[in-house]
Amino acid sequence: MSALSRLTGTEARLFLREPVGAFFALAFPAVLVVVLGNAIPAFSEPSADFDGERPINLYLPVVLALAIGTVTMTSLLGVLAQYRERGVLRRLATTPVKPSALIGAQLGVNVAALLVGSALMMIAAAVAFGSRGPESWPALLVAFVLGAAAMTGVALLIAAVAPNARASAGIGTLVYFPMLFFAGVWTPGPMMPDAAQRIADFTPLGAASQAMQAAWSGDWPQPLHLAVTAGYALVTCALASRLFRWQ
């Protein structure tokens, strides 16, 4: 077996051996949708409280944004900071496999976890509440990929500049909760105050969430939101690759 596939397979097993992390990445989005659906009356019916929208169509893109935020800000960020602090990357630098291969393997594992968690969430929404999914799949995929890339870049940048694993986890938490707010976890869609929405337009997860909401109702996302997510992805990845310390 090649070094890269064995490395990725090993990292995937290690991921599944952390029960809390695996639960939040894989199962939590689906669980959250089921809980919300049972808590909100007429989840699948047009509601006056949501400008006549069906609540489910507003919540599902928000839960997708939450899934992106959780995997990048807790799972990926936690592992990267720990691997540097514990010298795992440094040890790898003495073998023919570069430490960047381990980061690649971790990215692959986390992307896979995000996709599985998101797919389980969509299936749960379809089975429990008859969700038909987004009106525009291509638009959703574009918004989802850009949003995930932007937040991955933010995680890599935090891992690059944080002096140690504790600081990295602290910064991650400071970024995570405001991001969830701007993504609309507490105030989905039209419930978000205008001023907050103006700020959300320029945050990576807020822009991704709004782009995915547009895709859900069949519109193409606003160019602003696509530009913001793409911009974050490019800038953070470029900075992270320049600033990352391997030891």
Binding site: T10, R13, R17, R86, V88, R90, R91, T94, T95, P96
Partner: protein, 244 residues
């Protein structure tokens, strides 16, 4: 034949010079030890030889290749055990060895290596559940898994009990007998005396002495009416008055 040639190695961190003009060569099949007090520059020296740090001055060749420029090629030929480098908590011993074996073109048999460091029973034990000595032995096994021609071992037996240390000495002699050149950093005088063919003693980043253990001891003469041992020789070399 010289496998490692260090000439005029200098390394600075900021305006602090931690290694200052150190030169020595290590012959093929030799067990070569680096001794020194904390902060004498031992680890920095071996990290430069391992290609993990760029020297600020001097040249290092390993197996005829430049330690830094040819780092890519040397990584397959040199096995390195680093101080304070841990593995993932939930990674199991057997998985770690199989994973690292997959990095090399011609790896050692991982089960044999596991037996030779006495960890066969721990094959399914996660890293976090190993004792300090077991972690150390796994770390040495990982340095040897690629069948290296040169093994660089930093703080070889720190944290091991006397019996385990002797097991590791046996292992190091066995790999040397297969033609592997061993460069090790140690704090233990008995280890340096019993295991090493030659020793470099570093004091404040400079090379204070380079000799066989017997040669270093002979240079001291009697101490307080007793025949000197390696510790006496080491203390004489590293005494503060030595600076003047």
């Amino acid at each position: 034949m010289a496998v490692i040639e260090v000439s005029g190695l200098t390394k600075r961190y900021g305006d602090r010079t931690v290694v200052n003009g150190v030169s020595f060569t290590v012959a093929e099949g030799e067990i070569f030890g680096i001794l020194g007090e904390n902060g004498a520059g031992k680890t920095t020296t071996v990290e430069c030889i391992a290609g993990l740090r760029s020297p600020d001055g001097g040249a290092i060749s390993v197996l005829g290749l430049d330690a830094r420029r040819d780092h890519e090629r040397l990584r397959g030929l040199v096995g390195v055990q680093l101080q304070e480098s841990q593995l993932q908590d939930r990674l199991r011993v057997g998985e770690a060895l199989q994973l690292y074996a997959s990095f090399y073109p011609d790896p050692a048999d991982w089960r044999e290596l596991l037996a030779s460091v006495g960890l066969t029973e721990q094959v399914n034990t996660p890293y976090a559940k190993l004792s300090g000595g077991q972690k150390q032995r796994l770390s040495i096994a990982l340095a040897l898994i690629g069948n290296p021609r040169v093994a660089i071992l930093d703080e070889l037996t720190t944290g091991l009990d006397p019996r385990a240390r002797r097991e590791i000495w046996k292992l190091i002699r066995a790999i040397r007998d297969r033609g592997v050149t061993v460069l090790l950093v140690t704090h233990f005088m008995d280890e340096a005396e019993r295991l090493c063919d030659r020793l470099a003693v570093l004091v404040d980043g400079g090379l204070a002495a380079l000799d066989t253990p017997a040669g270093l001891i002979a240079g001291v003469g009697d101490v307080d009416g007793y025949r000197a041992n390696l510790e006496d020789a080491f203390l004489a070399l590293t005494a503060p008055s030595h600076d003047s």
